[in-house]
């Protein structure tokens, strides 16, 4: 044996300066997302649907729009109707799927790859890590939605003009007013989307499996749609997350129907807050064994 003669080890000096916190984790989570192909797959899908829709309308010589969809008959009159139709298309599946792809993966993938232990043995507290990841997943949902609606508005406007739009109540509003309402409607739609992201985060934390978390979040959405389709369970409708995906339409009326918006806010919060609280509790107490 050759013992190493070391100079006496000292206890660590008291740490100076602020500790990194949620903001640091958040910034690096965004950088990690930017470095992953999956991120751009979701963004590409969010861009592709409006492109396909507008190109489909341009090559369709019949002159109509999609039947039975809010604002469907207006798409050739004004490009402002295009993002609203896209929002209806993407409400139940596309946007929740893209959101869940990241939110369901953001904790589980670190567990599966073993990198969770790498970041949890540094100088940030566990709750900072969770908060940073949650904010990054929410940011991704916002970016996806802005890209989806924004590209629909831009492409629709370029193809069919930025003309005034007729609301669901039959009132025509100016282009500027219409764009403002589209923005507000997007924010209203964001509420249940963030609730889906929260559920995906919970599943990601609990299952430690990305695929299970993504599929689980979507199945939750599907399950609520099935419940909503059963007439015997109509009394549940106002409390289902799936119902809140169309709440934004309340803003596209004159006067604005605030009731679905307010309900969407508290119903979404009722799903999101307990999910996030449960996820945080599990994350703080979990054994990191990967």
């Amino acid at each position: 044996m050759t013992a190493i003669s070391a100079r006496p080890a000292a206890a660590p000096a008291a740490r100076s300066g602020p500790r990194p916190g949620t903001r640091t984790v958040y910034v690096w989570e965004l950088r990690k997302l930017r470095a992953q192909k999956r991120t751009f797959l979701g963004l590409g899908a969010a861009l592709l649907v409006p492109v396909i829709f507008v190109v489909g309308l341009l090559v369709d010589s019949s002159g109509g729009g999609p039947d039975g969809v809010a604002f469907g008959e207006l798409v050739r009159e004004t490009g402002l109707a295009v993002p609203l139709v896209c929002l209806t298309f993407g409400a139940y599946w596309l946007i929740p799927l893209i959101t869940a792809l990241v939110a369901g993966d953001i904790v589980a993938t670190e567990d599966q790859n073993g990198t969770l232990k790498t970041i949890l043995t540094r100088s940030v507290e566990r709750w900072h890590v969770f908060a940073g990841k949650t904010l990054a997943a929410f940011t991704y949902a916002v970016v996806v939605l802005v890209l989806y609606v924004g590209s629909g508005l831009l492409l629709g406007g370029l193809a069919f003009g930025f003309d005034p739009v007729t609301l669901l109540s039959g009132t025509q509003v100016s282009t500027g007013h219409g764009i403002a309402l589209i923005g507000a409607g997007t924010l209203a739609y964001l509420m249940p989307v963030l609730a889906i992201a929260s559920i995906a985060l919970l599943l990601s934390t609990v299952t430690r499996n990305s695929a299970a978390a993504v599929v689980g979040a979507l199945l939750t959405s599907l399950f609520m749609q099935v419940l909503g389709a059963l007439s015997a369970l109509d009394f549940l409708d106002p409390y289902l997350l799936s119902t809140q995906f169309n709440a934004w339409m309340g803003l596209l009326r004159e006067p604005i129907d605030w009731a679905p918006i307010v309900r969407a806010a508290w119903v979404s919060a009722a799903y999101a807050v307990p999910s996030l609280f449960a996820a945080l509790t599990v994350f703080l107490r979990r054994d990191v064994t990967a």
Binding site: T2, I4, A6, A9, V27, R126
Partner: protein, 317 residues
């Protein structure tokens, strides 16, 4: 007096009916290079995870420089670095980018040490490459670099040479030696005896979750001093003669000859007596057990009845 870099008392971790870590006490003093030895599945990694606060013990406590990670969170890890199992990084980021990430999560002056850490582990030339393309050895070295960013006073390394080729193992040992010479306390888990003999001052040997020896490596090896192997022209007569002599004990037929225990004086007297009896001595050599032999004796066969200590080592004689 400042608290010990590592002080674990009564650590227990169960997974269902399996007790992965069973009442483990561990004290690593400042400046020591401490070997935590045990076969795979003995509970070494689980112990290190508890020390780092990655998993919760079912009983007992673990403190690093007097601070409990479960109570004080990330603050308890100030001045502490290392990795359990293989160090893991983001494969889609470069080595340098990975270090920037962990440095950001460390704060302080960690980011300023990236260049120096890369130089220390000789990865500067590959720092811009994605970690996904790194060999196992390069990832191990990047793990060390990540640990060095924290300017640690205590390094916890879980089998740092596992999976490395001989050259990589040699380089890793040199690196650990260099860090220890800088005064960093090192707790090194391993099942490689040569590595531990080369690097460590003190060891704990763990078996099925329990510490079966804890103490100085030199003292452990010394417990087998006084054992000799003897080959003669007539082993049967030699055995009878040896067994009757004062100071000679535990005479056995083994390895094509005899083994016996005796102090220096008794063995000298025995060699003279053998000559006088007309028995030729072909070989009479001290038979000191290697750490590997001691390790196997402690970690194979029936579980030890006593948990730890010199009495266990004494029983091996």
């Amino acid at each position: 007096m400042s608290p010990a870099p590592v002080e674990a008392r009564g650590l227990v971790k169960r997974y269902g009916d399996v007790i992965a870590v069973d009442d483990v006490d561990l004290t690593v003093g400042a400046g020591e290079v401490y070997g935590y030895l045990g076969p795979n599945g003995a509970g070494k990694t689980t112990s290190l995870r508890m020390l780092l606060g990655l998993i919760r013990p079912d009983a007992g406590s673990a403190k690093l420089f007097g601070r409990d990670p479960l109570v004080e969170g990330a603050r308890a890890l100030d001045g502490v670095a290392g990795f359990v199992e293989a160090p893991r990084f983001y494969p889609y980021l470069s080595g340098r980018r990975n270090l920037e990430l962990v440095a950001a999560l460390d704060g302080g002056g960690a980011a300023e040490r990236i260049g120096e850490a890369l130089d220390t582990v000789e990865l500067t030339a590959r720092a811009k490459d994605r970690v996904g393309g790194y060999s196992h050895g390069m990832r191990q070295r990047l793990g060390i670099a990540g640990a060095l960013l924290r300017d640690p006073r205590l390094l916890l390394l879980d089998e740092p040479t596992t999976g490395l080729d001989p050259g990589g193992m040699r380089d890793m040992r040199l690196l650990v030696r260099r860090l220890a010479e800088q005064g960093i306390t090192v707790l090194l888990s391993s099942h490689l005896m040569g590595e531990v003999e080369e690097l460590c001052d003190r060891v704990a040997i763990v078996r099925t979750g329990r510490v079966v020896y804890e103490g100085s490596l030199a003292e452990l090896l010394a417990t087998t001093a006084g054992r000799y192997a003897l080959r003669t022209t007539d082993d049967r007569r030699a055995a009878a003669l040896a067994a009757d002599r004062h100071g000679v004990s535990d005479v056995r037929f083994a390895d094509g000859g005899l083994t016996l225990s005796a102090d220096d004086e008794a063995v000298t007297a025995l060699s003279i007596a053998l000559g006088e009896a007309g028995i030729g001595i072909a070989a009479l050599v001290p038979r000191t057990a290697t750490l590997e032999e001691l390790f196997f004796r402690m970690t194979e066969g029936e579980p030890a009845a006593t948990p730890a200590g010199a009495e266990r080592a004494e029983a091996l004689r």
